[in-house]
Symmetry: C2
Subunit: 290 residues, 2 copies
Amino acid sequence: MLMGQPIAIAIHGGAGNIRPENLPPDRAQKVEAYMREVVEEAYLLLQQGRMAIEVVEVAVRRLEDAGYFNAGTGAVPNERGEVELDAAIMDGHTRRAGAVAAVRQVRNPITLARYVMERTSHVLIVGAGADSLAQLWNLPLRNGIETPSEVPWSYGTVGAVALDKHGNLAAATSTGGIMHKKAGRVGDTPLIGAGTYAENGVVAVSATGQGEYFIRSVLAYDIAARIRYAKQPLREAVLQAFAERLEPIGGQGGVIALSPAGEVFLHFNTPGMYRAAINASGHRIVGIFR
Amino acid sequence: MLMGQPIAIAIHGGAGNIRPENLPPDRAQKVEAYMREVVEEAYLLLQQGRMAIEVVEVAVRRLEDAGYFNAGTGAVPNERGEVELDAAIMDGHTRRAGAVAAVRQVRNPITLARYVMERTSHVLIVGAGADSLAQLWNLPLRNGIETPSEVPWSYGTVGAVALDKHGNLAAATSTGGIMHKKAGRVGDTPLIGAGTYAENGVVAVSATGQGEYFIRSVLAYDIAARIRYAKQPLREAVLQAFAERLEPIGGQGGVIALSPAGEVFLHFNTPGMYRAAINASGHRIVGIFR
């Protein structure tokens, strides 16, 4: 790795009550292999000089399409048996962001979120208004995707953070929300500063867990603010954000966080979090359980 | 005023291109008189020992019902000629919060937001799902409210921040969004940490302006983070949040902010902001223009 051009990628597939006793070993192996594939592909793109914003979109789209996670194809239904999807993407270079919530028709909410960022003057578009933009822009729809049954390993959100050769950070997150949620419920995923945040020179964060607690803690931006204003290093910023903001109100979940130097820190206070990363030193991590 | 029991209230009715030449004097007088009435009523409730969370809801409901502002009864239509309303409320004592976005049927979105906070395990509910809760809970609907024509004085959002006798801070914000917005567009108003934030011992903030820039700046929580982590006083925190976060990306608007000691700071970088306040010393302010 050339000095001064660090690259790094981290992804997650959700945090929750994921334990060896409720995840069959062959399933765990398949999911780990899939995550390994996604980070290796993303890393290759970064090596080729592609932009972080593009790489996090590609990585999250792959996770949405996997069917293993509660996002995109694998999303769980709400109380009415309908799937409602949320996603956000943020470019740390410009602090531009795009997000969608409670969309039903689009196959890849993360791509719709990126289009909202690039093609509109808005950041967040919800419901049928967002679905109609997906049609207008000819994005692939969910037609024919069957809603999966209640799979015990489908716990959460997916997300990615990346650092590209040009020093840009980006973050992207996508989810089907919580099982049997009220129609229209939106969690932290599509809310900039709650579940998703990126800013060059500071941090990129994607969160997963009980979204309401992450919203009330403005968790992703709290990590950024600790780094900016309290000069905390990445690891300390994440740990203290959990200890001082999320946990005192009872929140559970995890984050993937990435520093401008390509340091990766993966943290969760649940039994497990689907996760994989390649840091600036080229060190590989893939894991599910604590 | 007894030491140790400061109370304070501030409200806004939106920031924007509000100038003497585009606001008839009799209209300005009526709006000022209305805002004065709202803060005096709120102050009386605080003197009686009512909770900040209750007082900000009452104040914002009055502003929604006024018809003078782009919220509730006075809301402006989106690109399809439909009204879509957003609101959020946050209790600084518990950091609990409730919010709704893109609702069409409820008369007082701020009350629906409070019910979401108190009656569900969720923070944010959008669209038809939120409207159906308004019906379930028998909240008054908008039936019969005519969408106002494009009134030049209807520029923004409404909001309130309050400090009660018990030391609790609260914030509430409500809006019709931006004129001719895309269907489903959601701004900063209902997003905790962007347009609305309250935390005891730190600050209460309600914002108004070009919501996308406030989202990308996580502006309300940036002010809180400066106070918590950089130990900045209220005024400096607000001014630097504007100068370092909002303005570099081109954002315009205003905030009302309230410290735990009952210090009020009203700030905007637009020609005008509808505003009124009574601080901990009992000092009254009512204004529209710079």
